[in-house]
């Protein structure tokens, strides 16, 4: 590199000018980062070790001269709130004020940094024409702007205007009381410190060398302070380029051009300016257009590794600039293997860290916990499970976490008491306790954070996040206690999340080696040979910036407060400065925005493209898309498959073996592959614990309720009168069904939310069935949810035959006179019409009646197991729709004939059944996918099939 980095130039300057007393020099840079690099450059110039000169950021430098101690934002906002509340009647609650507090504080910062007289600023001029007398220090143009603003108040007066005037009128009082309070406590916000120093310029020792370096935009107070020091002998060094200095249009040079006009600075901004940017007019700037953010990052990796291959790549002289801080981790993951050291200097949003997600979960857990009567409380399963599944908890107590998850899920616990948890000594009792007031919440969070990050397994980065949270929480706690802020949990959460939004974890890469990754601001004063800037999009670079202020635009302008124009100009300088010494420049931007915009190329690149002589070479990244299609899945009956299929083989007279159920057969008819997955490969569906009740659970609850209701009455004749009593039992029967399902104590069970709905709806249905039953009475219940019915069917197998076991759980069997009814309760869309017996086994029939198939199979089970019974066996379907309709009927209709006795059709039915099983066991029929994609809709395996 022919041109030295700016800081290197300063180092050489210091070395040659102050040779033997370098340690007496004070260097002031805009930020800390520059100092680090400067030190490195300086060390390179030395022959013996020396004490480092004092190196300060501007802020630290100014602070030295002030007795006030700048305090943290939260304290300031609370302090401000105390004042605000006094002046504004009906002020909002603190957590709602917070945002305004931040904004007001920002305005006060600006007012003081720019040495504006708040008294003149916060004057209501709507009724005064005396502007001239007041503001003789304003220019004519400024006055015009201000007059124009206030003139809009003269016409009608809207509610909004009144509100504005009301607050505006009080702001000066608030400001002055606020600053006085702070000063009395020896504390301040930064602006106040600057103002104090600027207004009481310190006496200085003329012999002490001071060098200011690398500044661009100075606030009025900074300018006054620096001017003072320069007048007393200090030096100032600028880092500029002719490209934007000579071109009046370039906002990058707008401040510097102004300084050039000032006497104190003129000499230090000596012409001719270096022409580094234009000197490289033959070197192109590479612009990479990529559709996705991640694409940018991956392309970056590719390009770096390409450059590396060409040999002249020095990671130490390379910077990756991340205007969008969220890309940090994607970038870290996407650098070539050969990059061994990475140095990160930037703020990373705390809200995007795992610790924060845990904190959020904890707060939600608390928020949705419920106080039980005995001062104990229960936690909601969703939150509880999420806590146990959180990486940090998994890390800390992997065993207990798993055990608890399993327990909760297998018991269907919706609300969980800490006693029900398998606890370790520390974390579980800590997490699962109810906290109420603000300090307790903070201590609670701190404890958990401390605990989970204590282990060695937690990476240093995560410990760093934890540290930040811990310290932030300490601050909050202190302030909350000091000012006796009383926030309930909900308010605390609102406040906390607002506070966290703006917090950044300040990564500082130290010691200095390896490739640098930086935020935009951190690159100030630094020069690199290889510069890679991601997210060159409007909104990222320059950043959209909040720029919120209570002071309207024109008023800001009129009084000389900074507006977004200045902000944009600062970014412009930062951008062009990066080009000063860079040899290789790669810019990346995304072409596809999201819903909120994006996808617009940064103005700076456009400026380069349309104005500079440097070629901008555009490359668009696109990949060929070769998406694979799902191939049909066919499972041939290989030996291992046959082996698995044999699990349903039974020996005669043994009822205890694995058997196929009617649902299995129905499933086989629907889709052979699905049957294979479920009954052969035994890949089971995982039933997620839900507080909403899906149709299956709904059906189960209903069955159990019916069962509960009738168990007492089993094997006795139920008369019409009995229903009066039975009706009174409905509530308990349904309750019991719920209690069993959710493994809860029936007496303490509290239903809530949607479960109440299910409860009520089931009750209604049960009552309806009872009504139907009472019409039918007297009858006798001879079986309820009977599992004891099995039959064996012989099926061809190789040369001989084997026995395949079938079984079924029959919802209900009742007897009236010489008639047995085999009854199935249905909640779905089932109907009772059957085209023909054969149609029950016809998988292509679009409306194959599964319920009928099932009920007839049940009837078959019953008949075969009760050969002695000579009466009629009637298969019946009670379905919800019909139970409520006026024409209640439960008979199956086959070929339009009511089935009043199943026996005549059993032979035919069994024939088809045998065929079906033979097919299932036939080596020539593989397990394949159904052709009717409608059947896939509710299939749990549709992911695999791609349907």
């Amino acid at each position: 590199m022919t041109v030295l980095p700016f800081l290197k130039q300063i180092a050489q300057h210091v070395q040659s000018k102050y040779d033997d007393r370098i340690d007496e020099v004070t260097l002031v840079f805009p930020n800390q980062r520059a100092g680090l690099f400067f030190r490195k450059y300086l060390a390179e110039e030395l022959s013996v070790p020396i004490w480092s000169p004092a190196i300060l950021s501007m802020e630290d430098f100014v602070r030295q001269y002030c007795r006030l101690q700048a305090t943290d934002k939260f304290t300031l906002i609370v302090e401000l709130y105390q004042v605000y509340r006094k002046h504004i009647s009906g002020a909002e609650s603190f957590e709602r004020f917070y945002y305004w507090g931040e904004m007001l504080l920002g305005d006060f910062e600006d007012i003081d940094k720019y040495l504006i007289d708040a008294k003149y600023l916060f004057t209501d001029l709507s009724n005064q024409k005396a502007l001239d007398d007041y503001f003789d220090y304003l220019t004519h143009e400024q006055k015009k702007i201000i007059v124009e603003f206030w003139s809009t108040f003269s016409d009608q007066s809207s509610e909004e205007k009144k509100n504005f005037q009301m607050i505006w009128g009080k702001l000066y009082d608030i400001y002055s009381e606020f600053t006085t309070t702070l000063k009395n406590k020896n504390s301040a916000y930064t602006g106040l410190v600057y103002k104090e120093v600027a207004n009481n310029l310190p006496k200085i020792n003329k012999n002490q060398p001071i060098i200011f370096a690398g500044f661009n935009a100075l606030t009025t107070s900074e300018e006054r302070i620096i001017t003072h020091f320069i007048e007393e002998g200090a030096e100032i060094k600028w880092d500029v380029d002719a490209y934007y200095m000579y071109d009046e249009r370039q906002e990058a040079g707008s401040f510097l051009r102004e300084y050039k006009k000032k006497k104190v600075f003129a000499k230090s901004l000596e012409e001719p300016y270096p022409t580094n940017i234009e000197d490289k007019n033959s070197t192109p700037i590479y612009l990479n257009a990529v559709a996705q953010k991640t694409g940018q990052v991956k392309l970056l990796g590719t390009i770096i590794s390409e450059i590396q291959k060409q040999g002249n790549f020095n990671p130490e002289k390379t910077v990756i600039v991340l205007p969008d801080e969220n890309l940090l981790f994607p970038v870290l993951n996407s650098l070539p293997e050969s990059i061994k050291k990475i140095n990160v200097t930037m703020g990373f949003p705390l809200v995007n860290t795992p610790i924060y997600s845990l904190v959020e979960l904890l707060l939600e857990l608390q928020q949705q916990s419920k106080e039980q009567s005995k001062g104990r409380c229960t936690f909601y399963y969703k939150n509880t499970l999420r806590v146990f599944k959180h990486p940090l908890i998994q890390q800390y107590i992997p065993q207990q976490a798993l055990a608890n998850i399993k327990n909760i899920e297998s018991h269907n616990w919706i609300r969980i008491n800490v006693d029900q948890l398998q606890a370790d000594e520390l974390i579980i009792p800590t997490v699962f306790q109810k906290v109420e007031n603000t300090s307790d919440i903070i201590v609670y969070l701190q404890k958990v954070i401390g605990l989970v990050t204590v282990t060695d397994e937690v990476s240093l980065i995560e410990k760093e996040y934890a540290y930040q949270f811990y310290t932030q929480l300490n601050r909050i706690k202190e302030v909350v206690e000091q000012f006796r802020l009383d926030l309930d949990l909900a308010a605390f959460i609102r406040l906390f999340s607002q506070m966290m939004q703006s917090l950044r974890l300040p990564f500082t890469g130290e010691p200095l080696n390896g490739l640098q990754i930086m935020g935009v601001l951190e690159t100030r004063n630094l020069d690199f040979e290889n510069v890679f800037i991601l997210s060159m999009n409007e909104g990222s670079f320059p950043s959209a910036g909040k720029g919120h202020s209570f002071v309207p635009y024109n008023i800001r302008k009129g009084y000389g407060l900074p507006t977004f124009d200045q902000q944009d100009a600062i970014y412009a300088y930062l951008f062009y400065r990066l080009l000063h010494k860079a040899e290789i420049v790669h810019l990346f931007y995304t072409t596809e925005g999201g819903v909120t915009g994006g996808g617009e190329l940064s103005r700076f690149v456009q400026q380069l493209k349309y104005e500079s002589k440097r070629p901008v070479e555009l490359t668009t990244l696109s990949h060929t898309i070769a998406i694979k299609t799902q191939k049909p899945i066919v499972i041939e009956k290989s030996e291992s498959v046959f082996e698995a299929l044999k699990k349903y083989q039974v020996s005669p007279d043994d009822a205890s073996q694995k058997r196929l159920t009617p649902s299995a057969l129905n499933l086989y008819l629907d889709c052979r592959l699905r049957f294979y997955f479920r009954y052969v490969a035994e890949i089971y569906e995982y039933n997620e614990l839900q507080d909403q009740i899906d149709p299956m659970v709904f059906g189960n609850l209903l069955h159990h309720a019916m069962e509960n209701l009738y168990t007492q009455k089993r094997n006795v004749v139920i008369e019409k009168e009995d229903f009066k009593e039975l009706k009174l039992l409905i509530d308990d029967a349904v309750k019991e069904a719920f209690a069993t399902h959710y493994t809860e104590d029936i007496h303490n069970m509290e239903l809530e939310g949607k479960r109440i709905l299910a409860f009520e709806v089931i009750k209604k249905y049960v009552a309806q069935v009872l009504k139907r039953d009472s019409d039918y009475a007297p009858f006798e219940i001879v079986g309820l949810e009977s599992k004891d019915y099995t039959i064996n069917v012989d099926v061809e197998w190789g040369e001989g035959t084997i026995l395949i076991g079938l079984k079924g759980i029959i919802d209900r069997i009742d007897l009236k006179g010489e008639r047995i009814r085999v009854i199935d309760y249905k909640t779905g869309k089932d109907n009772r019409k059957v085209e023909s017996v054969q149609s029950l086994f016809d998988r292509d029939a679009s409306k194959r009646n599964k319920a009928a198939m099932q009920t007839i199979l049940y009837s078959l089970l019953y008949v075969r197991n009760n050969q002695a019974f000579k009466g009629a066996v009637l298969p019946g379907v009670f379905n919800t729709k019909e139970a409520f309709s006026k024409k209640f009927d439960y008979h199956l209709e086959i070929e339009k004939e009511q089935v009043v006795n199943v026996k005549p059709i059993l032979a035919e039915f069994e024939g088809y059944l045998k065929d079906l099983l033979s097919e299932m066991y036939s080596p020539f029929v593989p397990f394949d996918q159904t052709e009717d994609e409608k059947k896939c809709e509710n299939c749990p395996y549709k992911g695999i099939c791609g349907r």
């Binding site: 030190r39 300086l42 060390a43 390179e44 020396i50 480092s52 943290d72 709602r96 809009t152 809207s158 205007k161 504005f164 257009a289 991640t294 991956k298 990796g301 590719t302 590794s305 390409e306 969220n326 994607p330 050291k341 990475i342 990160v344 997600s357 845990l358 499970l385 701190q446 401390g450 204590v454 410990k463 540290y467 310290t471 932030q472 706690k477 609102r494 607002q498 635009y553 124009d565 596809e592 925005g593 994006g598 996808g599 103005r603 456009q606 400026q607 349309y610 990244l621 696109s622 990949h623 694979k628 066919v634 997955f677 890949i683 569906e685 909403q692 149709p695 949607k754 709905l757 695999i944």
Partner: protein
């Protein structure tokens, strides 16, 4: 001053609307270098915004370089500038824009409105930091959940919900009502609802009123049903008495006796309660009651004459009298429970927004309305900090009434000051009514409102886009089609007299909208290729059981080949479809085709579609998702099976599928690393986890998947920015919203586009194929999708609630809501016809449509096309193939030799993914902050380290308090810690030796680095210097170790090297306040 400063451009497809807008913009902007700051151009989408901006900048750049351009010449003339001045002016404006880019105001309506609202948020009482929530459905989902929490607490609500749920169970539907409510609740965001929100919320809070309203409706229906049923029963009683049954009468169930039977079965279908043609004569003719051959004629005649005929007349009379009220009550009842629940959702939604500090995008208009209504324009500008003089609004036909209402005062203000304003739009391309777009604004309302003294209506008649033949056919098609459509509408009206006329008049709107449809081809295009169109009306193939749509699919690849033969590049072809379903159909078909042996060499069958290329379509993404599911829940066997399957699929070899589904042998089918790392994986944050999985599964080698994986990673990243970033929540979110996640592609991809017609608006393609050109003219007639109307009735008792949700359907013809019904029908006709217009006007040279054969009636748009073309193809000089039902026009282009397309990657792209954990150098403040042993639970902070830190901040003893304060402000310590630390330090000062170090006589350096000539930098905790003498102290925590001394010795050497002759060194162990001399 030109009075007609309000210019409305009514454009048509391809008429250079954007060109015109850009030109008008520039014309204004070029008046003064900084004038652009006073122009607000409003576009419809963010994409359009970005495009418009870059267009303006491009034009300026071209003009400033003096390059020849038609717009440049026009502008130069219109602005009366010399070439030199023009060039200079363009250059100046360009650089002004580039350097004041924040004031380059081309924005979407929403973006502009947001800006205004933000600047007023304090005054209108909004939460200052409100977040704008774009995903309203996600919010709705949560709010409905919140509402369910109320079950059991709010009695009325509970009852409604139970009723609602029971009703569903009784209808054999799934009992779960959440989705129904969520679906219904989407109405909350519609403008119609918003307009009445306040009143409705008031009603909602008055549960008694609502209940009584319901009761009133119920009474109307049940009274009617009861009485009507009685007529039926009476008739049957009479028939019974005379031993007659329905079968004995004329036409049995369809005859007069059947009518009585019908009366007995409420609830009634009101469209079927009229007498049919067999029954009508029975009112006055006895013979009409029996068949001629009946052998019990006499008996029947007797009873009829005696009783039944009279009864029939009475009942018909009764039915006719009460039918309208009944029908109305019936449709109003239908949504009543849902409506009641909805009102509860409304109040929950308000709570939710307040709690979360969010504002929904649909609320913006309401807030703005208040601001704009209350305040004069200058004040709004002052608060907003933007000072516009001119408004240029694009796509005005899709602007909603609310939006315009909010713009109007601003525009009015501008007009009154004599500034120019501009609207551009095309009523015929209005297809966003479902989002609130109101085309009648453009059609006439705005003009009426602004007044003809301002309004200057202009038309753009040229079509710069399409070839001659395309223009000609479309001219005829839409001109004649519009007439046909309005006739069709008039035919449907079943009203009489004045009312009929009133509704009929509306039909004119269609014709008005299309009166200027005929376009000209501009001179400069006349030399070009004339274009080719083919509209096929395909018959089903009954023999092969093939639906026409299957036949169309089979033709598509051939069409693609054919077009490529003519030199059309594949990325110049677009398939336009109605919805996502069809997109997927085509995408799937072509992908299959491409992979089959039918695909021909040298042709491309590639397609891209922003909509149908869902992330979930990728095997790699599936693999990642299922892995997350499995990691999140090891018991999820299906996730595991999926994981294995997609892993194997991603490697491309599923030779033995049965084995991989063997739950017990899974290990063999997954990379070993996966099992080894499983525990570690569960501990990773999402972003890192995904990267790690990519490495483990080798996805970085799957080139075809890059785009998907990248897009998926973007999704994960963005999710983490807006949500709690744990895996469980991510998966839940993914479950619900994955269908909305699409691959982001750059435009230049070498593939044909498949997109919805809605998305194609504003675009053009060399060849357009509309494969399923057969959508209905009316709202979905199969009733698959309910269309809800909000009706403001004026007849009691229905007007008690200002706004009733009513389902669109033919039964409304019989109700009080009939006019609203016809209005909605007309709108639907327009929507669907406009959609056809948009679809058929995208093409430059080639246009192909396919649809089914025409049915008996004209029900879908292709029927309209068929009708028009059938009668006009001759006049058009087109050809009609009777055999295959195809209309053709023009000549296909010449066959061209196709060059093989070689796409070369500029850089050989690699999907780099590496672990970073050991590479990162960062200075950690936390390193020693937390105790590494778990037993000191009470304070997790290590005091030793705090003291260390504290000492570094103190030069002399008196600095202790300030240092402690600073640490407190930084949050490192609490007030309590402060006291403890302070006393600990004071205790240390008791040690003479130590106290001496803090004496003022020393020159002290704490943690001042020493710069050695090379190598590592040293930072000594504390060095005290006095002339030649130097004392170095190093603070230590924990137990003394040998290497501590080593370190101090190194310091002593360093200090000696620096030139100090008397150097001594100490170790100071802070916990025990022990000093060790080295």
């Amino acid at each position: 001053m030109d009075n007609k400063s309000f210019v409305v451009y009514r454009s048509s497809a391809g008429s250079g609307k954007t060109y015109t807008l850009a030109k008008e913009y520039l014309k204004l902007a070029l008046t003064r270098p900084t004038y652009f700051k006073h122009i607000l151009a409003v576009t419809f989408t963010n994409k359009a915004t970005a495009e418009m901006k870059s267009r303006i900048v491009d034009y300026l750049s071209i003009f400033s370089k003096g390059e020849s351009h038609s717009m440049g010449h026009e502008l130069m003339n219109e602005l009366n500038l010399s070439e030199e001045d023009f060039q200079k002016q363009c250059g100046e404006v360009l650089s002004m824009i580039l350097h004041n880019y924040s004031q380059f105001s081309i924005a979407t309506i929403d973006a502009f409105f947001q800006k205004v609202i933000r600047s007023f948020s304090k005054e209108v009482g909004l939460h200052g930091g409100f977040q704008l929530e774009l995903d309203q459905n996600e919010v709705l989902d949560k709010v409905v959940d919140d509402m369910f929490e109320e079950v059991g607490k709010d009695e009325v609500l509970t009852k409604w919900l139970i009723n609602f749920a029971s009703k569903k169970v009784e209808d054999s539907k799934s009992w779960d009502i959440k989705q129904d409510i969520v679906r219904f609740a989407k109405e909350l965001f519609s403008e119609g609802y918003k307009g009445k929100e306040k009143e409705l919320v008031a009603i909602a809070s008055d549960k008694v009123f609502f209940k009584s309203f319901l009761a009133e409706l119920n009474k109307i229906t049940s009274d009617f049903e009861f009485s009507v049923k009685k007529y039926g029963q009476e008739a049957f009683a009479i028939m019974d008495e005379h031993e007659l049954n329905v079968g004995d009468f004329f036409r049995k169930i369809q005859g007069p006796a059947g009518y009585f039977q019908k009366l007995q079965n409420p609830p009634f279908d009101v469209t079927k309660l009229q007498l049919n043609s067999y029954q009508r004569p029975a009112l006055d003719t006895v013979e009409a009651w029996y068949t001629k051959k009946s052998n019990i004629k006499e008996r029947i005649a007797a009873v009829v004459e005696d009783k039944l005929m009279l009864l029939l007349n009475e009942s018909v009379q009764f039915v006719n009298d009460g039918l309208r009220a009944y029908a109305t009550a019936q449709v109003a009842q239908k949504n009543m429970y849902a409506f009641g629940i909805l009102l509860d959702v409304t109040s929950k939604l308000i709570e939710y927004k307040e709690r979360e500090g969010i504002m929904l995008i649909s609320d913006a208009n309401t807030f703005l309305k208040k601001i704009v209504e209350d305040n004069d324009t200058p004040f709004i500008y002052e608060k907003t900090g933007a000072f516009y003089k001119n408004y240029l609004i694009d796509e005005f036909q899709d602007t909603s009434g609310f939006q315009w209402g909010n713009f109007f005062p601003l525009v009015q203000n501008s007009l009154s000051e004599g500034y120019k304003n501009l609207l551009v739009g095309d009523v015929k391309q209005s297809i966003y009514r479902w989002r609130g777009g109101d085309w009648q604004l453009l059609q006439h309302k705005v003009e009426d409102q602004i007044g003809s003294e301002y309004a200057d209506i202009r038309r753009l008649n040229n079509n710069f886009r399409s070839a001659k033949n395309v223009i000609e056919v479309n001219n005829t098609l839409f001109n004649k089609g519009a007439k046909l459509l309005s006739e069709l509408f008039i035919d449907k009206i079943e009203l009489e007299g004045e009312e009929k006329e009133e509704v009929e008049k509306n039909a004119l709107l269609i014709e008005q909208a299309y009166e200027d449809v005929a376009q000209l081809q501009p001179e400069l295009n006349k030399e070009k290729y004339e274009g080719y169109l083919s509209f096929s009306f395909v018959k089903d193939n009954v023999e092969e059981e093939k639906k026409w749509s299957d036949i169309v699919l089979d033709r598509i690849p051939l069409l693609l080949e054919n077009l490529q033969d003519r030199g059309v590049k594949v990325n110049e072809i677009a398939f336009l479809v109605r919805g996502g379903k069809h997109e997927k159909l085509i995408a799937d078909y072509l992908i299959d085709y491409k992979n089959s042996d039918k695909a021909k060499k040298g042709y491309s069958y590639n397609i891209v579609s922003n909509e149908s290329l869902m992330l979930g379509a990728s095997h790699a993404v599936q693999l990642l998702i299922h892995t997350l599911q499995y990691l999140n829940n090891n018991n999820d066997q299906i996730a595991l099976a999926n994981l294995v399957y997609f892993y194997q699929a991603s490697k491309g070899d599923i030779t033995v599928p049965d084995k991989i589904f063997n739950a017990h042998a899974i290990e063999h089918f997954l990379p070993n690393d996966f099992f080894l790392q499983q525990l570690h994986l569960k501990k990773l944050p999402l972003v890192d986890l995904i990267e790690m999985l990519i490495r483990i599964f080798g996805l970085q080698k799957q080139e075809g998947e890059y785009t998907y994986i990248q897009s998926f990673q973007d999704v994960v990243l963005e999710y983490g920015m807006n949500h709690t970033g744990d895996t469980t929540s991510f998966l839940q979110w993914w479950d619900e919203f994955n269908h909305k996640q699409f691959v982001k592609l750059p435009e230049q991809a070498n593939a044909a586009r498949v997109m919805t017609i809605h998305k194609s608006k504003g675009l053009q393609f060399k060849a357009v194929i509309v494969p399923f050109c057969n959508w209905d003219i009316d709202h979905d007639s199969r009733g698959l999708k309910e269309t809800r109307m909000w009706i403001d009735s004026d007849s009691p008792p229905f007007n008690a609630i200002p706004f009733l949700p009513i389902n669109y359907g033919a039964n409304l013809k019989k109700t009080e809501f009939e006019k609203a019904y016809y209005n909605e029908m007309l709108q639907a006709y327009m929507d669907n016809f406009n959609l056809l217009y948009v679809a058929l006007t995208r093409a430059e040279d080639y246009l192909f449509t396919f649809s089914g054969e025409q049915g008996k009636e004209i029900t879908c748009v292709s029927d309209l096309m068929f009708e028009v073309l059938k009668h006009n193809y001759k006049a058009l000089n087109g050809s009609w193939n009777e055999e295959s039902n195809v209309f053709r026009f023009g000549q296909l282009g010449e066959k061209e030799e196709v060059e093989a397309i070689i796409v070369k990657d500029e850089i050989p792209f690699q999907y780099i993914s590496n672990s970073w954990q050991n590479k990162m150098a960062v200075k950690f403040s936390s390193e020693t902050f937390f105790n590494t042993t778990a037993d000191q639970q009470q304070s997790s902070i290590n005091y030793g380290n705090l003291i260390h830190d504290l000492m570094a901040r103190i030069i002399t003893t008196d600095q202790l308090p300030k240092a402690l304060d600073a640490m407190k402000f930084e949050g490192m310590i609490t007030e309590k810690d402060k006291v403890e630390l302070s006393s600990a330090v004071i205790k240390m000062f008791k040690n003479e030796e130590v106290l001496n170090w803090f004496d003022k006589k020393w020159q002290v350096k704490t943690e001042v680095p020493v710069l050695p000539k090379s190598g590592e930098m040293y930072r000594m905790d504390r060095v005290m210097i006095s002339d030649e003498k130097a004392v170095v102290v190093d603070y230590k925590t924990g137990v003394p170790r040998e290497k501590d001394k080593e370190q101090v010795k190194r310091y002593i050497r360093l200090l000696t090297e620096m030139g100090y002759s008397q150097v001594s060194g100490y170790l100071f162990y802070v916990e025990k306040a022990e000093v060790v001399s080295v």
